[in-house]
């Protein structure tokens, strides 16, 4: 176990540092679920967080370099369009992801990258 004590300690510390980030609000605000401020946050935060998570998901795109984020933009537009049209989450996500994988794995990517 000697050589495992260091990674096990690091993993244990990571777990001990992660759980409070999730549990603190529940511990500190126990019994105040009906406070108007928290009711307000429960109403507006999911919308704000989702908007930010979408931006976060595309944070690493290099807009100045080929292909300028086009595969992501195109796949997201197809996903969004399908979802508005049919309202079937699995269909939208499946087609969008398939299209994205095809675009970045196939000749399309090669063609894009070869185009100045």
């Amino acid at each position: 176990m000697g050589e495992l004590s260091y990674p096990l300690a690091v993993i244990g510390v990571m777990a001990a540092a992660t759980f409070p980030t999730r549990a603190l609000p529940f511990l500190l605000l126990r019994g105040r679920e009906n406070h108007p401020l928290l009711v307000y946050l429960a109403r507006v935060l999911p919308a704000a967080v989702m908007t930010i998570l979408v931006l976060y998901a595309v944070r690493d795109i290099e807009l100045r370099q080929v292909p300028h984020g086009l595969p992501e933009l195109l796949a997201m537009l197809v996903t969004a369009g399908l979802h508005v049209w049919r309202g079937n989450a699995l269909l939208s996500i499946g087609v969008g992801t398939g299209l994205y994988m095809a675009m970045i794995q196939s000749w399309v990517a090669g063609w894009w990258l070869a185009t100045p």
Binding site: T21, A23, L29, M50, T51, A89
Partner: protein
């Protein structure tokens, strides 16, 4: 415990997470296997830490033989965004038992996104559905970590781009949020602070920065009556 119908509904709702978490967890497992430790430490990390970006950071910390205090601080700050999720889940996770604390433990970006956007199947006990969604998501993640750790760099399947499923999931959930919204200002505030944070803080720090600015703006706006609608 979840009812059978809740489990089925949870499986349908979490399928996109399955396609996102398995390759992402496997990517973590690959990286982890490069450290030379036994493979099972990768799924163990997924089991007890269960935080994607912190686990990737952990590989770097282990490789650098980082100190424990440094590890604790870096991981806490990286995961501080979870505090914002807790604020808006208080009312949904009442009670005390162990299931509540498991739900709290498993509150990842994706689980939060699903649970705040997906209508809960009709039942007297919505907690069963929450539990099923949370546990299924963690199963996918741990399986991914194990697969990556076991196969190391031997895997030949080209899954490049499969983790776009999570981007697509967030896109779909944002549309669902927009459809059921009674006010637009939370989206506008978040979009402005998100783009500003991306521009000013860069991709690595944008999430926490954007969440902090949005929360402040939403709170100040409420107090001053700017969002009076």
């Amino acid at each position: 415990m979840p009812e059978r119908a809740q489990l089925a509904a949870a499986f349908r709702a979490t399928l996109p997470v399955l396609f996102g978490y398995v390759p992402l967890g496997a990517a973590f497992g690959f990286l982890f296997s490069g450290l030379g430790y036994p493979w099972w430490l990768a799924p163990l990390t997924g089991l007890v830490v269960y935080a994607g970006s912190a686990q990737f950071l952990g590989v770097g910390l282990l490789a650098a033989q980082a100190g424990l205090l440094e590890t604790a601080l870096a991981v806490f700050l990286l995961n501080a965004r979870h505090l914002f999720y807790g604020f808006s889940m208080l009312g949904r996770y009442p009670g005390t038992g162990w299931t509540k604390w498991y739900l709290v433990f498993g509150l990842t970006d994706e689980t939060y996104a699903l649970l705040t956007s997906t209508p809960v199947p009709a039942s007297t006990r919505p907690q069963g559905f929450y539990l099923a969604v949370t546990a299924l998501n963690q199963c996918y993640w741990v399986i991914g970590c194990a697969v990556g750790g076991l196969l190391g760099t031997n895997l030949r399947v080209d899954t490049t781009g499969l983790d776009f499923a999570l981007t697509a999931l967030f896109t779909v959930l944002l549309i669902d949020q927009l459809r059921s919204a009674t006010a637009m200002y939370p989206f506008v505030v978040a979009a402005v602070s998100g783009i500003a944070a991306l521009w000013l803080l860069g991709p690595d720090n944008m999430l926490l920065g954007a969440l902090a600015v949005s929360l402040s703006a939403l709170l100040i706006g409420r107090r001053t009556g700017v969002w009076a609608s």
